[in-house]
């Protein structure tokens, strides 16, 4: 799956997107955040306050208990500040 990062999540992770293939035990968005957090310091920093992180699956806002099976594109970002 394609994983995208925006705003300070992108800056902390150090990249805007990457292709990832998490193990089957990573079932939900929250699982994916926990799994990512273990991938290195930059991820641990980006996801240090997981409750602040917003997520979208295939360009729709989702809660962190949403199942990620079948997702093509998952994005992580801070609360939106547009308008």
């Amino acid at each position: 799956m394609k994983v995208l990062y925006f705003a300070w999540v992108r800056e902390r992770v150090g990249k805007a997107e990457e292709a990832l293939d998490p193990p089957p035990a990573v079932a939900t968005v929250a699982d994916l955040i926990a799994w990512l957090s273990q991938r290195g310091e930059e991820y641990a920093y980006a996801f240090e306050k997981p409750k602040v992180i917003r997520a979208a699956i295939d360009r729709m806002h989702v809660n962190q208990d949403t199942v990620i099976a079948g997702a093509r594109e998952i994005a992580f970002f801070p609360p939106m500040t547009g308008g």
Partner: protein, 155 residues
């Protein structure tokens, strides 16, 4: 009749008069047009701002705005909607966002515009980075924007 909805994300500035004219030209079913222009201010909570940089999620931003425009049309008798949101670097005095709503009566036009702005502030995937006098950083989301958006929640 299908309600004309125009949504554009762009780096370039927009022209208020052009957008209003495009929405209402040649029509006599519009009795009320409300516009909201969001403009980059020169200070934020007392600190001088040199510029904002707006990042967005291409693809999702358009889709999110379109969904909310459709919802506005389903909730109020609107006869036209235009939403333009800029991205990239924007200096004080420049436009950031434009919402135009048209209706036969003023209540719907006002309500539709407020609804769309509250959602743009809280749900559309845009992020503002400020260049201030004491460095630059990402703008925090405001609780007051969530409160404003919550008033539109359906029971």
């Amino acid at each position: 009749m299908t309600v004309p909805i125009t949504i554009r994300l762009q780096e370039a500035d927009f022209d208020l008069a052009h957008e209003v004219a495009a929405l209402s030209r040649g029509r006599t079913d519009i009795g009320a047009v409300v516009t909201f222009s969001g403009i980059c201010r020169g200070d934020e909570d007392g600190e001088a701002i040199a510029a904002l940089t707006l990042e967005h999620y291409p693809g999702m931003a358009e889709a999110e705005i379109a969904r909310h425009a459709e919802e506005a049309v389903s909730r109020w008798p609107l006869t036209g909607i235009t939403v333009i949101h800029r991205y990239g670097r924007i200096v004080p005095g420049e436009n950031i966002v434009l919402v135009v709503t048209a209706s036969s009566h003023r209540e719907a036009a006002f309500q539709g515009a407020e609804f769309l702005m509250d959602y743009l502030k809280t749900k559309a995937p845009f992020w503002k980075r400020e260049e201030g006098a004491s460095g630059s950083g990402w703008v925090d989301a405001h609780d007051r924007d969530d409160t404003a958006a919550a008033r539109w929640a359906k029971p």
